[in-house]
């Protein structure tokens, strides 16, 4: 494999216009098969929850983003994380559009020689992207009403 550190310096598009399929996640894992310097992967998957709010059930979340700004911010987060942890690579994918309850809307995947860097980097990336990226989720209810979500 080529030097992932160099690849990490180029801004990447994290957005996909659909739910993240389990097969895509499996394929991402498979792609690291030849990188035998990796000793640990850490994966976070965000799933759309069917919350019940005032008696109405969330059936899906519709995600929108200020994409250009979000990609710049994500690039800065990626640079910080690579500077802080000895990672081999990092992959981030976030859904846009309508994602049904039970589907995966966020996939963060970090890899390193030893587990701790991968685990800590994964957690920090998830926390930072939830706090810093201009992305909005609109919770759609079964009766076609909606409310705007706010991260806790």
């Amino acid at each position: 494999m080529k030097n992932e550190q160099v690849k990490a310096r180029t801004p990447k598009n994290i957005f996909v216009k659909w739910a993240i399929a389990p097969a895509f996640i499996a394929d991402s894992i498979q792609k690291h098969h030849s990188q035998t310097d990796i000793g640990g992967h850490s994966i976070f998957l965000g799933q759309v929850r069917a919350d019940v709010i005032k008696g109405k059930k969330v059936v899906a979340i519709e995600y929108t983003a200020y994409e250009e700004m979000a990609l710049k911010q994500m690039h800065a987060i990626r640079e910080d994380i690579f500077a802080k942890y000895p990672l081999t690579c990092m992959h981030v994918h976030h859904s846009l559009g309508t994602i049904a309850a039970g589907e995966i809307c966020l996939f963060v995947f970090t890899s390193s020689k030893h587990r701790k860097a991968a685990i800590d980097a994964c957690e920090e990336t998830v926390e930072r992207l939830k706090a810093e990226l201009p992305i909005w989720g609109k919770e759609l209810f079964e009766d076609e009403s909606y409310q705007w979500k706010e991260n806790q």
Binding site: G46, Y63, T64, A65, Y66, E68, M69, A70, K72, H94, C105, L106, V126, L129, K130, A131, E132, L133, P134, I135, W136, G137, K138, W148, K149, E150, N151
Partner: protein, 77 residues
Amino acid sequence: MQVNVMLFGRLADITGSRQVAVQNVQDTNQLLQQLKNNYPALGNLPYLVAVDEQVISDNTMLTDGSVVALLPPYSGG
């Protein structure tokens, strides 16, 4: 001089559009005042202001073609 304003989330619900053009404002304070005059419901809502994709905290001069974005609390992930 024209400034393009991008609105997201519940703010776009209030304006009815994700893009609004505002004429004859020199800085972000004037711009926000004009938006609040046009859309009083914006007045009480929390949001950050970004000018050309940079979040600002102080009044910022605008130039023709500046892109200002109003960002309500994030809810990605």
